[in-house]
Amino acid sequence: MGLLIELTYLAASILFILGLKGLSHPETARRGMIYAEVGMFLAIVGTLVHKEIVSYEWIVAGLIIGSIIGGAISIWVPMTAMPQRTALSHAFGALAASLVGVSEYYLHGADVGTFKMTALSLEVLLGGITVTGSLMAFIKLQDWIRGTPITYRGQNIFNMALLAATVVMFGYLIYDPSAHSLFYAMAGLAFVFGVLLVLPIGAADMPVVMSLMNSYAGLAAAATGFAISNNVLIIAGTLDGFSGFILSILMCRAMNRSITNVLFGAFGAEVEASTAGALGSMREVKAEDVAVQLAYASQVIFVPGYGMATAQAQHAVRELANILEARGVTVKYAIHPVAGRMPGHMNVLLAEANVPYSSLYDLEQINAEFPATDVAVVIGANDVVNPDARDNPKSPIAGMPILEVDKARWVVVLKRGKGKGFAGIENPLFFKPNCGMLYGDAKASLIKLADAVQHA
């Protein structure tokens, strides 16, 4: 019987890897996920015949309640709220891992060996940080508290001291696993640390936080695997952990910042005067004028940002693009890696609006095209199109790769108001002679544009 369970786990591990391999292309992705689902099913069925399981009522109750909640969320959550859903799911995953860890310790306590104690402690530490850290991220994404960094004097020193205390406890527990109260104190500190870690991080840096939490949740699951000697858990947790880790690196690279800077830099807290001297004035344009330019353009590139998500404007973008394409205009979409609040956020929204993925372009693919573009339409994006990142070495975002929309013949920026971008950095793009500002709700502006293009 034991062998049978192990074999289902082996099959599940292989199917998981095949599943992730499928994600290397949109054509094979759904089939890949079916492999992974079959793997999961096998592993669960295999576990249910485990000899230690004597009663099923709590298991069945948990499976039913979990399926209802999970299914309901995934059916009804709007695509624009995908970052919030993902943050919650990191919290749930980490919660499960830390509870299994606490339960294991509660059962075996002082009898666990050094290695198992290390695994259990890591599991509870990473799990605890992820639970509260992800919940904080959720609260910020949901706008229940303001998205700007929350800072106070001595914050970094305080956090460091707390982290050091946790590490000391961790070390002592490995030396003496019987220190029960210390274990629970460490678990408690991990929960507190999760909150403190995310407090000073601004909403625009959420893609990094999401990726990091993804990584921690996976590593917590892998540590669970070590603690209960279960290989499929080690494999699945490690895959998740490394996926999150790779995404964190990609996101940081897309902002030209280090992970330490994102975590402890409290970016966007203070407003700095980044550009010397007067920038001139911004030029407000009318929808009718923009519509004429769009209608007679040969190539138009849309550059979506988080503003598109908040305005739920993805369908309106697609409507406008349809009308333009019917007139023979080439329409492309330029996606910056950190546009939005999580990796890939903009791609999903545009796919939802039926934009074919062959029209979605990455930073490297599209930048060369801007000089040959008649109109670049920036929809609620700001820092990712800020030419200061390229031209001004003193800018706080200096060196960040940007979408070079300023090289297009004409740029239209759809923006809610005259305020600065999230990071509080002045954007010289708005003052360039080839740039016009179209103020108002992005969705309303796009609908107005579509209407005007039809009459152009």
């Binding site: 230690e52 399981i53 979990g66 969320i73 059916i75 859903r85 993902t86 499929v232 490394f242």
Partner: protein, 111 residues
């Protein structure tokens, strides 16, 4: 825990990390959001640990912790796979044909 078990576990970890790095590096930025929800669903495999905790009747505390853990990881497994599929269904190479249109209005209604 014997040394062999520990070493075997570390081997599995190291190889999974290496393989994971290779496989995940090939996922295009286009699919990064589905990647995150997919890996999240997969790491919901910690469900198998929770199942034993919830069903083994060690004691009341463990059963309760296990029950909560089973619920939390089931949310991730079921929700994660469902939402990944919902997203992947939306990615299309060509502008939608008639049959796809229906699919997408369905999506909009849901959203």
């Amino acid at each position: 825990m014997s040394t062999e078990v520990i070493i075997a576990g570390l081997y599995v970890f190291a190889l999974a990390a290496f393989l994971g790095y290779q496989v995940i590096s090939r996922v295009p930025p286009l699919l990064h959001t589905p990647l995150m929800s997919a890996t999240n669903a997969i790491s919901g495999i910690s469900l198998v640990g929770s199942l034993v905790t919830a069903g083994a009747h060690y004691n009341t505390v463990s059963t309760w912790l296990g029950f909560i853990a089973v619920t939390a990881s089931t949310i991730n497994v079921v929700g994660g796979f469902m939402i990944t599929d919902r997203m992947l269904r939306m990615f299309k190479r060509q502008p939608a044909a008639k049959t796809d249109k229906k699919d997408s209005t369905e999506e909009q209604e849901r959203a």
